[in-house]
């Protein structure tokens, strides 16, 4: 089912992920997350209202939608950073609804943040080492006696340097993370997440604020995760990227899942166009925020490209 990405050129997409017609809440052949009836309100505002959602294992799933669609809130809920008003979900068959964020992470579901959270006043290497799981030196009692943990520390350091080399950050290992560029921080955050050897990686807008020179490298790293057998779920505004690497796309609008399917089908779906334009039907187009406009333009461009092909 999962397949390796082409070294250069177009990545090979995973297909046959779903059972039946692609529609919101469609069943998956092998889901890693199954969520039911999740709602979250802020004051009177319903931020998330998802009846049923399954995320396919071993594939790259994109979560898209206009601003305020509830993508990040859904991310926060699934990772334990926020508590839902109602709803249950499972990860790898275990119910994890309502358990705290750190326990979610320990189960192998690790996330990054929209605003990068590189730990600025720790060195790049320390950032990486922090990601490793099950460190005995992280207990206060043992921390005082290095002989309990120095061997493990060495192994962790080796693995960290290996990963840093892969992400081309090894030259910076002794610098404070605060000195890195925005794109490098995104890379560091992703590399740090991998230190915990996760089975599901959740990326919140991995491309936001990244220098175009680094975009390709980031894309390759995400595709690489799939090659290594990890599942990826990411939120993104960049439609090119979504088309390029996603095997499956979930579209949210006003807190609900309005469409699901493979990237090409979904983007032709009238419900999706409506989701991006719908909330602004009656308004002056000048009020549309630029992110939405860009997304629409990119959608149109992509379709034009496809037609030529």
């Amino acid at each position: 089912m999962s397949s390796s990405a082409g070294a250069q050129g177009a990545p090979i997409k995973s297909t046959g992920l779903h059972i039946g017609e692609p529609a919101p809440g469609v069943k998956k052949v092998d889901p890693i997350i199954v969520a039911d009836n999740i709602t979250r309100t802020f004051g009177g505002l319903t931020a998330v209202q998802v009846e049923h959602l399954e995320i396919p294992r071993g594939a790259i799933t994109a979560l898209i939608g206009p601003n305020g669609a509830g993508k990040t809130t859904l991310f926060n809920l699934l990772t334990g950073f926020d508590k839902p008003d109602t709803g249950e979900w499972t990860f790898d068959g275990q119910g994890i609804s309502g358990i705290p964020a750190f326990k979610v992470a320990r189960k192998g579901q690790v996330r990054t943040f929209q605003l990068t959270k590189a730990l600025g006043l720790l060195t790049v290497l320390d950032n990486m080492k922090l990601g490793a799981k099950g460190q005995s030196g992280e207990s206060l009692a043992r921390a005082l006696f290095p002989w309990f943990w120095s061997k493990q520390e060495k192994q962790i350091e080796e693995r960290a340097i290996e990963l840093l080399t892969r992400f081309k950050l090894d030259a910076k290992k002794d610098d404070y993370a605060a000195s890195l560029s925005g794109g490098q921080r995104k890379l560091l955050e992703m590399a740090r997440a991998l230190m915990s050897e996760p089975s599901l990686v959740m990326l919140d807008e991995p491309m936001a604020g990244v220098n175009p020179a680094l975009t390709q490298s980031l894309l390759d790293h995400i595709l690489d995760l799939k090659t290594q057998g990890m599942t990826v779920l990411f939120v993104e505004h960049d439609m090119h990227m979504v088309r390029h690497i996603a095997d499956w796309v979930v579209v949210m609008a006003e807190g609900r899942v309005v469409a699901e399917g493979d990237p090409h089908e979904v983007m032709a779906n009238p419900a999706v166009i409506d989701a991006y334009l719908g909330s602004h039907h009656d308004e002056d187009l000048g009020n549309l925020d630029t992110g939405v406009m860009n997304a629409i333009k990119e959608l149109a461009d992509d379709d034009a490209d496809d037609d030529k092909r």
Binding site: F102, A105, V110, L140
Partner: protein, 327 residues
């Protein structure tokens, strides 16, 4: 005329005085809270007070031996940390600030009120708890020392004991912040959500940090009362602010900063207070009375805190890059 030699020798005495040691240890505890973990503890005076009273009350009321009395103070500070931490460590940083400052005041009011006078001595405080500690003194009676540092056997014993505790605490802190545990703690200071997302139980680590720094505060409280009596008015909120001044002076995220900060703070304060007091006596500062001269030190500490935070937030010894302020 002003006796400069006396002023300088008084200031030099502060270098090893037990008060300096007590403030250094309290500031080290605060460095763990604020500098390394990013916890805004404004109740360090409360921790010190619990250490001091725990020790004194266990000795006087229960007539326990020294080690048990010290343990009482430490346990009291741990309980206090738990009471403070359980409701607030999940909340935003500024809640901890308000709750700790309020809790320290509650503690002070409880020790000041006449209601518990038989145990606490209310506003007059307690004395006469030093017997057990004195009995442990291995130094034979006599006067020792050179230069400005000439003391009797008890004074030396207090100094040796106090600074040994500071040295042990500094070593422990240094070790901890070179370990993976320290890495998690510093990560929490930078961004606790990121650390949480990596599977660390942030709440638990913050609690450990609060307890550890609080225990240092309690031990500092015990050193503080060995050369004097326990008086509740010594533990007002301004005590915590003085310790913050020391911490900021030395560098909030360093191990030796708080200690050297305390030495500098007390040497300068002693010299300056002495100088102003003499200067008033000989009529150099005709617009000041003696009482006002005493208040000048608080004004200077206040202004120093402001200037350091604005112009040199990393302190004297802190690394400019690692200036430790929570965002």
């Amino acid at each position: 005329m002003i006796d400069w030699i006396l002023l300088l020798s008084n200031a030099a005495q502060e270098i090893i005085s037990p008060t300096t040691a007590a403030y250094a240890l309290a500031a080290l505890g605060l460095a763990i809270h604020f500098g390394f973990t990013g916890l805004l503890n404004f109740g360090q005076a409360g921790f010190m007070m619990l250490g001091a009273y725990g020790f004194a009350i266990a000795t006087l009321t229960f007539e326990w031996p020294v080690w048990a009395a010290m343990l009482t103070g430490v346990v009291a500070s741990i309980v206090f940390a738990l009471i403070l931490g359980i409701p607030t460590l999940r909340l935003r940083a500024d809640y901890l600030a308000i709750v700790t400052i309020a809790a320290a005041e509650i503690v002070r009011l409880l020790f000041t009120t006449n209601t518990f006078e038989p145990v606490t001595g209310s506003a007059n405080g307690l004395q006469g708890y030093k017997g057990g500690f004195e009995a442990l003194n291995p130094i034979p009676p006599g006067t020792y020392g050179f230069g400005p540092w000439v003391y009797n056997e008890y004074d030396w014993w207090v100094r040796i004991f106090g600074w040994s505790l500071v040295a042990i605490a500094a070593f422990v802190t240094w070790r901890l912040f070179k370990s993976p545990w320290g890495r998690v703690i510093k990560g929490i200071r930078e961004d606790e959500d990121a650390v949480r997302a990596l599977g660390k139980n942030v709440y638990f680590y913050k609690m450990q940090s609060l307890i550890l720094g609080g225990v240092f505060g309690a031990l500092a409280g015990m050193i503080f009362i060995l050369p004097r009596a326990v008086v509740p008015s010594n533990y007002q909120t301004s005590l915590t602010f003085f310790i913050y001044a020391i911490l900021l002076l030395g560098g909030a995220a360093t191990v030796f900063g708080p200690i050297i900060g305390s030495v500098i703070f007390w040497v300068l304060l002693s010299f300056f207070s002495g100088f102003v007091a003499r200067a008033v006596e000989v009529g150099w500062l005709p617009f000041l009375s003696n009482v006002q001269a005493g208040q000048l030190r608080f004004i200077l500490v206040g202004i120093a805190i402001m200037l350091i935070v604005i112009y040199r937030p990393q302190g004297i010894f802190g690394n400019k890059k690692e200036l430790a302020f929570v965002k």
